[in-house]
């Protein structure tokens, strides 16, 4: 975006979120906190960690989208946030590619 189209972008940037949305998000976050703690006491086997992380992702997304106004900003900012999380995923996935597959080789031999 060059200097020409600032005006268009600024209206999007300065979006005023209604108060009701803030309180709604706040309530949702509190409920989700309760849910994630409660679910942790239920034995779901391997699913426990996935449920916990899914709830965390939902909560983080709500904070990003509404408290941090990501939903109302120009495309660039959400794209950048997505890239940063993608980079984090690269780091975790490729590192784990090593640790997960370390046992395989001896497994084949033995």
């Amino acid at each position: 975006m060059t200097r020409d189209d600032h005006a268009a972008a600024s209206t999007a940037h300065d979006h005023v979120v209604p108060l009701s949305v803030y309180f709604g998000i706040f309530a949702t976050l509190l409920v989700l906190t309760g849910v994630t703690t409660a679910v942790a006491f239920v034995d779901l086997g391997r699913m426990n960690v996935f449920v916990a992380l899914t709830i965390a992702v939902v909560k983080a997304s709500l904070v990003l989208l509404y408290f941090m106004h990501l939903r109302y900003t120009a495309r660039l900012t959400p794209l950048m946030v997505a890239i940063a999380f993608f980079w984090l995923a690269i780091m975790i996935v490729l590192t784990m590619a090593d640790f997960v597959s370390r046992g395989w080789f001896t497994g084949l031999l033995g």
Binding site: T2, R3, M91, L94, T95, D98, F99
Partner: protein, 545 residues
Amino acid sequence: METAERIDEPARPDGGTNYLNVNYGIRSWLLTVDHKRIGLLYLGTITVMFALGGLFALLIRLELLTPAGDLVGPDTYNKLFTMHGIIMVFFFLIPSIPATLGNFLVPMMIGARDLAFPKLNLASWYIFIVGSLFTLWAVFTGGVDTGWTFYTPYSTVGSHTKVIPVAVGVFINGFSSILTGLNFIVTIHRMRAPGLTWMRLPLFIWALYATSIIFILGTPVIAITLALVGVERGLHIGIFDPALGGDPVLFQHLFWFYSHPAVYIMILPSMGVVSELITCFSRKAPFGYEFIAISSLAIAFLGFLVWGHHMFVAGMSPYASLIFSFLSFAVAIPSAVKVFNWTATLYKGAISFKAPMIYALGFIGLFTIGGLTGLFLASLGLDVHVHDTYFVVAHFHYIMVGGALMGYLGGIHFWWPKITGRMYPESLARIAALVVFLGFNLTFFPQFILGYLGMPRRYNAYPDEFQVLNVMSTAGASILGIGYLMPFCYLLWSLRYGQRASANPWGATGLEWQTPSPPPTENFAVTPIVEGPAYHYSEKEAVLV
């Protein structure tokens, strides 16, 4: 701006104020927020660091002149190559082009008055100074011997040298990189002149944008990793210590997640410089502008996927090695795109062999050798053979010195008239460029052979049969040293005695050439308006001067 003639009025010999003479005194420099002055502050600082790193290199080569470890003992030798690596990588190569030429040129190339955050820019220099002082203090009070990679557990429980101060220095230094990258990204996004769309940007800007991405996404990882090494060493808790349940290979993963992309921090800006030089001195628009531009981003991205090729023999899973080997080959594609496009740009161009062009041509050749030998090392089987030998040393010096440093010197010469308002002595500079090229090859080509024959790196003694090649390498290093001293001397000389430079001595097309040399503090009297693509050279003209 069609031709050079129109804007080629002689720079005002006196009278007009520019960023250099607008005010004087040490305060006006230490408290400046002018991106051009900050670029010069960085230039001075990293030149000192380069000299220090070069001194260590000189001692290393002197020791290796003879097979016996006679000049320095093994412990001192360990410290020498460690401090050579740390200073050259973290305190010279990484800030080299971005912090000097980048700081100077980014706002001018996009038609802005300054970077978006001038105070942060100055802060980044001070942070760099603090980080450098920490490291220098450690260097002069005993040094450090872990290798520049700080591999655990040696760095946490083995070494008895000053690991923590150096790690703190590198940690602090990282924040200076982050601030520079942040500043560039915001500036390039938000402060381009009217009409300067992304596909009209100079390729140097594309390269620095890609570099900035690595700065902001890679640097924090090395920061936290070194912080953990410090915590582990200081508090004796085990995060990477196998004796305490940790995994030292995990440290290598995190270290190379930054430090492999850091190689692209060094080479990408040089590639940007070379794109500017090749187009200007062959009077042609680049062949495949879009491909060169996008390949910078592709390198920045793919560069983050290949770090495991440093760890093939570190005990990593062979399956992960397969993936990393394959991905390492992928990063050759955008690099090759650049080399092919530069070569195609030269085709039928009106080429003039000015000193910067000689550096640029040298870059293409040396980078190609460095890049292709990188593919040898990315091949699983061959890497086992040449791992930790001089083959690796030669390979990365072809990239970092033959590539990054040649681009840096070419860029310094090319923009010297803009920075200082003076021309450097052309014939002397051409000789220096050739001396650097010859000295470099004589230093490092024998090391490929040494490595292939099996000489391991990081030892102060070696079998007699390697001596001839080592003597060649040391001889080359002394020629290379002269090649670096020459520009240092004649560039300083030119500050006072050099011919006055016009606004656009090369007849180049970038916005930075549309303002007087040296430029006024706010760069442009009137914000320029861009109406066409970059690099509208006409092939008929030759370079003036």
